[in-house]
């Protein structure tokens, strides 16, 4: 009986506590830079598309919501002809970001992407591609990995570093 009265008193005192509710549209929680929200395709520091259309993200995606088609430009460089993410399926697991060898696909702290029509949740490459490098400012896949193209072997082109010898432990 006494404990019941104590409980009532305790609950009554909560009247003067600070509210824990965040009044969402006016104020919102801090979202860390690595928060897993809306997905973007980034460009390398030179402004080229990072994506090499390797299909790894599409393969790893547990809900199969990424669809893309690879193609090559005149230098033989691969890029996606179209790149489509169906956000009504995406579970924002971030696997695509982890799988991506070029840091191209990245998740951002934006989560306000509600739509009235489900169709509008299918984002095309135009909607996904941003003009900046995203979270990794200096990374340029080709500079590190290189790619043999007609006449030049890996690491021989301008501004390229020779590829790392993966069989050696020395730096």
């Amino acid at each position: 009986m006494l404990s019941a009265l104590k409980t009532i008193w305790l609950v009554l005192r909560h009247m003067f506590h600070r509210r824990v509710t965040v009044q969402y549209p006016e104020t919102s929680n801090y979202l860390a830079p690595r928060y897993r929200g809306r997905i973007v395709l980034t460009r390398d520091p030179d402004g080229e598309e990072r994506c090499v259309a390797c299909y790894l993200c599409a393969a790893v995606c547990p809900v199969d919501c990424i669809s893309l088609q690879a193609t090559e430009d005149e230098h033989g460089r691969r890029y996606p002809e179209f790149f489509r993410i169906n956000f009504s399926r995406c579970i924002f697991c971030g696997f695509c970001e982890e799988a991506c060898p070029t840091y191209s696909i990245q998740l951002t702290p934006d989560n306000e992407m509600s739509e009235y029509k489900r169709k509008n949740l299918v984002y095309e490459k135009d909607d996904l591609l941003i003009s900046g490098p995203g979270k990794y400012h200096d990374y340029n896949f080709y500079r590190v990995a290189g790619l043999a193209i007609q006449g030049k072997d890996k690491g021989e082109a301008e501004n390229e570093e020779p590829p790392v010898d993966v069989r050696s432990l020395l730096p």
């Binding site: 609950v11 009554l12 600070r18 509210r19």
Partner: protein
């Protein structure tokens, strides 16, 4: 002629007032619960979320109103109406201020008991007509709970009746000119409030609903406005309980300075907030605990109260 018009006006006001009170309580309860749980509660629709009940009403009116094919149709439809009707009937004898009442029955209190017993039918019939195990268990619980707590509620008020010398609620208020019955009849007040809560099957006594074990108890199968009727009935019952406690123990409309009606509303409102506070803080009892609390504690207390009050009243003669 003027009296008839006045009376009709009172009837309309009581009806409208109590029904809109039920709406307002939906908002009040949610805001207060939120207040005590460090939240804000509904605060988006209109100023302070005041129009939330309107939004709720629109929602509930446009919901699909489904009658299960296995239900007993006629009874299923009638059951929700019973509780609202009986509670509204009870308001007829509540004196709000001097001269402001629908009817001043000389057996007002007995009328109230009769009405609240009839109200139990609503739950039992709803549970029965739903033709569903959980609903039936809820209905049975409601029956057992209401019938036993009816006893203590009636007994607890006998002391008040003895002191006032009348069953009329008006006379009971007028008998509290000197000192309110909540002082002289404190045990009765406690028993009455507990029994009243059990009667309105509010938390911590909402065993007939008991979401955690019975889905939603007697109204599991109800949807749309039929469910809404139970909801309204429950809020009306809370208002009625608070109004009764005000009339019987807290001097009804009596009070200094402010006009009588304002005093009545203030006291009733404070009691309603108290009831909501109980909901915010206490867990639901087990059913056997409820029964033993009633028969082993409340019954002796109520009886003792009657004996002592009777003795004092006799000696005082």
């Amino acid at each position: 002629m003027r009296e008839i018009v006045f009376h009709l006006l009172v009837v309309v006001c009581v009806l409208g007032g109590t029904l809109s009170m039920a709406g307002a309580l939906i908002w009040l309860e949610r805001r207060l619960l939120a207040l005590w749980q460090d939240r804000y509660g509904p605060n988006r629709v209109g100023p302070f979320g005041l129009f939330q009940p309107v939004a709720d009403a629109i929602k509930i009116f446009t919901k699909e109103d489904w009658i299960p094919p296995f239900a007993d149709r006629a009874v299923f439809v009638a059951a929700p109406a019973v509780i609202v009707v009986t509670v509204l009937m009870s308001f007829a004898v509540v004196p709000f201020a001097p001269g402001v009442w629908v009817a001043d029955l000389n057996v007002g209190l007995l009328f109230l008991f009769g009405m609240s017993s009839l109200g139990a039918y609503s739950l039992i019939l709803a549970g029965w007509a739903s033709n569903n195990k959980y609903s039936l268990i809820g209905g049975l619980r409601a029956a057992a709970q209401t019938i036993s707590y009816e006893v203590f509620m009636g007994l607890s008020l006998m002391g008040v009746v003895m002191l006032a010398g009348s069953f009329s609620l008006r006379a009971i208020v007028e008998a509290q000119q000197g000192v309110w019955f909540c002082v002289t009849q404190f045990p009765a007040l406690v028993v009455f409030l507990i029994a009243g809560l059990a009667e309105t099957h509010r938390l911590p006594f909402d065993m007939p609903e008991a979401e955690s074990e019975l889905v939603a108890g007697f109204h599991s199968e109800y949807s749309g406005m039929k469910f809404g009727m139970f909801f309204v009935g429950e809020y009306l019952a809370i208002t009625l309980l608070s109004a009764l406690a005000t009339v019987l123990f807290f001097g009804g409309w009596l009070g200094p300075v402010l006009p009588p009606l304002v005093w009545f509303v203030l006291k009733t409102g404070a009691l309603i907030c108290g009831i909501i506070l109980l909901r915010a803080s206490l867990p639901r009892l087990r059913f056997d605990q409820l029964m033993s609390l009633g028969w082993k504690i409340l019954l002796p207390v109520a009886l003792l109260n009657i004996v002592v009050t009777g003795a004092i009243a006799l000696l005082g003669k």
